[in-house]
């Protein structure tokens, strides 16, 4: 049932060469409700399923943050216990990273857009694609279930550093919560791996005839590189998770040294080291940042090109930069461990190598801004989000300079500077990218347009709220405010801690904006104005088929690519555009 032959070369056969369920030989899609919408093989349906999962999980992830932000802003009112606090920050991080951002952006939009943008009937392995979704769903359910077991959900931070996470008597959630956390993550990794293999196989093998690598939209490049990084990084986390499970339940001591005394009780473990886990964790953990951020940047490049009405600045160098980011991204994980007890010389190496990454990122930043030069900008909602992304990626990026410098990290490590920085990058950049993508590709999901007025309200509340929250958190980090504290009493931190009520108010504002999006999304899916084939005058292949595309994506023959993905600013007045499959 998988498409195993090169589709581009068979384009002339048109409709007959797309994937079907086992034993299907006819050339129209499934008709039953369950095979069409629940256990669907269709990448578009699976993409929407991922988006719905992300929207559902975001209510839990964001809800938790509102809860503990209330505690931080107005401590002393018994809003929650310290045990709940550590547990909630842990679960907020885990849910937002893996089940909201990754699910919406990497899996949701990726599934939706990749086959459409490269001119394929579906993913290379549609069954695997379906299984990928039906594996992340139980992972999400197990993650939620961990709130309700004895001792509650895991409370060791989303980084689950041992010994805290390896010992079953050290913290709330230590009894079963962390075990469920590890099982859920294992399922997530299985799901990501199935999805990732599918992306790689699809992008490398199923591109439409004429679409050479250097004619791929930048989104596709970003998804491809992000996926490869994930596939290379996740095995290290898988190994770490298995070892941690064994330490917890199998009596091993991979991460537990001898001489431990926990709550007055000497432990029998010998021979392990907690630092090993940190190396394994960040070997994935750092590339994971790019797994999340690069697709958002890719979406921004595409959206900006469409609404700036000109091709992105220096396409080639953006591609090369992405490749350099991928290479360097694999060898800089130690910058998360400057004060971990790792050899100080290694710290120096990781500092120098990490700062080299500013080079390719500087190119991407300049190219994003440069793509507006001599443009004719149309300020639609997706464009606003993409422009917000440009600002966020710049601000977040230069925050990275502070943290990548080991000497400065002596002050910033484990403070709110880190919290503000990574929220800007893997929170604001990813979500502005996701929203830009959702508003942009909504016609290809539901055949309708989203409401622009609600979209703009959503944009402004999101951008004002999140920029304020995370910029102020940088200030708090400069003031030495440590993260993961239930409340603050150290004298030196009090000026920074006094900013907490303001941060929480802005967080509420940003959160309220998401309700507007929620309403807009579902209302527009049912009642929005019908969209034509190419409502934005865009040039890439997904805009050459009806909205929404039917099963198999193109009613007739597959498109044949004849040019670059961004044929904007053509014609005598520069207002024309050329589709990527135009026959001229």
């Amino acid at each position: 049932m998988a498409i195993t032959h090169k589709q581009g070369s068979d384009a002339a056969h048109g409709h007959d060469d797309h994937g079907h369920g086992v034993g299907d030989a006819h050339d129209h899609g499934p008709t039953g409700f369950i095979s069409k919408y629940i256990f669907s093989f269709d990448h578009k349906v699976i993409g929407i399923q991922y988006l719905l999962l992300a929207i559902g999980m975001s209510f839990i992830g964001v809800g938790l943050s509102f809860w503990f932000r209330t505690q931080l802003a107005w401590p002393g009112h018994d809003v929650m216990t310290p045990e709940q606090y550590v547990s909630f920050v842990t679960m907020h991080g885990t849910i937002m990273i893996f089940f909201v951002v990754s699910a919406a952006l990497s899996s949701g939009l990726g599934n939706l857009a990749i086959p459409l943008q490269i001119g394929a009937r579906d993913m290379a392995f549609p069954l695997l694609n379906m299984l990928s979704f039906w594996t992340i769903l139980p992972a999400a359910l197990i993650m939620i279930a961990s709130f309700f077991v004895e001792g509650g959900a895991s409370g060791g931070g989303w980084t689950v550093y041992p010994p805290l996470s390896a010992l079953r008597n050290t913290l709330p959630g230590a009894k079963w919560g962390t075990t469920l956390w590890l099982l859920a993550m294992a399922l997530f990794i299985v799901s990501f791996t199935m999805g990732g293999l599918n992306y790689t196989a699809t992008i490398l093998n199923l591109r439409a005839r004429g679409m050479s690598l250097m004619r791929m939209p930048l989104t596709i490049w970003c998804w491809l590189i992000a996926t490869l990084l994930g596939l290379l990084g996740f095995p290290a986390l898988t190994a770490a998770a298995i070892m941690l499970l064994l330490d917890r339940h199998g009596g091993t001591s991979f991460f537990l040294p001898s001489g431990l005394i926990v709550s007055g009780e000497p432990m029998a473990n010998v021979g392990g080291t907690p630092l090993l886990f940190q190396h394994l964790f960040w070997f994935l953990g750092h590339p994971e940042v790019y797994v999340l951020v690069l697709p958002a940047i890719g979406v921004a490049f595409d959206v900006i090109a469409t609404f700036a009405r000109r091709p992105p600045q220096a396409y080639r160098y953006s591609v090369y930069s992405l490749l350099v980011i991928a290479l360097l991204g694999m060898v800089v994980w130690g910058h998360h461990m400057f004060v971990s007890g790792m050899n100080p010389y290694l710290g120096k190496y990781f500092s120098i190598s990490t700062l080299l990454i500013t080079a390719p990122f500087a190119i991407l930043g300049v190219n994003l801004v440069g793509s507006l030069w001599k443009a004719r900008i149309r300020f639609t909602t997706p464009m606003l989000f993409a422009l917000g992304l440009v600002s966020a990626v710049g601000t977040g990026g230069i925050g990275g300079l502070f943290l990548a410098t080991s000497t400065a990290d002596l002050h910033f490590h484990d403070t709110y500077f880190v919290v503000g920085h990574f929220h800007l990058m893997i929170g604001v950049v990813t979500l502005t990218g996701t929203f830009a993508g959702i508003y942009y590709w909504f016609p290809k999901m539901f055949g309708r347009m989203m409401n622009e007025t609600l979209g703009k309200i959503h944009f402004w509340t999101t951008i004002i709220g999140t920029f304020a929250v995370f910029t102020i958190q940088h200030f708090q980090g400069l003031g030495g405010l440590t993260r993961r504290y239930y409340e603050y009493s150290a004298q030196v931190m009090m000026p920074a801690a006094s900013l907490n009520p303001m941060v929480t108010m802005f967080a509420f504002l940003a959160g309220a904006g998401q309700l507007v999006f929620f309403v807009n999304f579902f209302w527009s899916a049912l009642r929005g104005p019908k969209a034509g084939e190419n409502p934005w005058d865009a040039t890439t292949l997904e805009w050459t088929t009806p909205s929404p595309p039917g099963h198999g994506n193109w009613p007739g023959a597959l498109p044949v690519v004849t040019g670059d993905p961004y044929g904007y600013a053509t014609g005598p007045d520069g207002n024309g555009f050329r589709m990527q499959n135009a026959k001229d």
Partner: protein
């Protein structure tokens, strides 16, 4: 179809927002003197220099980047105007490798010229340093001074006692007799180098003293190290910086920095745990 709607209004609004955001960030940093807490250690001054260097370098990029972005948003919001022509290859190369050279030079020169000597200072023990051992456990800091003989006694995990012998010092080891154990209080001499041997009994903790710009994880199974030269007499606090379970937020200890004379006096008044 939504297009070309209120182009210039949106452009002005967005550009204004970006400029206000930039100005507010820069203004707050200047008004609050970059929010940095007071600094009371020699290497801390170096850390602050490093931070200030990045603030100026990164701040410059932040401001210029946002000015250009805002300018482009306003200038190129129309539907007519100058029509797009691809950049010349030479210009493209300039705008690609210019930023690369700038960013790499700015960041690597900073880390090598300003940062490296400070990093070296923090991680290099000097011969005449006072050595203090720091032991962390949920949720307490304990300092141990070697006593008159200048040597730390051995440990025997079987002799651990929550109230009587929290460091599990070996009663039978003579070198440990005069070791001074100070729970929840760290006393330091101003102007003298102190080399810390840091360890933990149970989970990860982090030896964090913000006014010193000192932060070093305490890792069970190994010793980690850091060096401080306190510059002024005064008080400070250790505040754990690595999540160590629900009581993480209250894992604190007092730090007293005394003049060398007062410190010597304090030390002579202490008695060893088994004396």
């Amino acid at each position: 179809m939504p297009r070309r709607n209120s182009g210039s209004a949106s452009a002005l609004l967005l550009a204004s927002f970006l400029l206000i955001f930039t100005a507010a960030t820069v203004g707050a940093m200047i008004y609050k003197k970059c929010y940095l807490p007071p600094v009371m250690s020699h290497h801390g001054i170096g850390v602050d220099k490093m931070i200030m260097y990045i603030i100026f370098a990164a701040g410059f990029i932040f401001v210029v980047g946002h000015l250009v972005l805002s300018k482009f948003i306003v200038t190129y919001s129309g539907t007519g105007g100058e029509s797009y022509k691809p950049m010349s290859h030479r210009a493209e190369l300039f705008f690609t490798f210019g930023p690369v050279i700038l960013m790499v030079a700015v960041s690597e020169i900073g880390v090598l010229v300003i940062g490296a000597p400070v990093w070296h200072e923090v991680y290099t023990q000097q011969p005449d340093d006072l050595v203090i051992e720091i032991t962390a456990k949920q949720y307490e800091w304990t300092a141990r001074y070697p006593g008159k003989d200048g040597k730390f006694g051995l440990r025997d995990i079987k002799q651990y006692d929550e109230t009587e012998n929290v460091l599990a010092l070996d009663k039978h080891d003579k070198t440990g007799k005069d070791d001074i154990v100070s729970r929840g209080l760290l006393v330091l001499p101003a102007g003298k180098g102190v080399w810390f041997n840091i360890r933990s009994w149970d989970v990860l903790h982090s030896f964090n003293i913000p006014v010193f710009r000192t932060k070093q994880d305490a890792v069970p199974g190994i010793f980690t190290h850091t060096r401080v030269v306190p510059t002024t007499v005064g008080t400070a606090e250790i505040a754990c910086a690595q999540i160590c379970s629900a009581g993480h937020y209250r894992m604190k200890a007092k730090v007293l920095i005394k003049s060398p004379e007062d410190f010597a006096k304090w030390l002579s008044e202490q008695t060893g745990q088994f004396e």
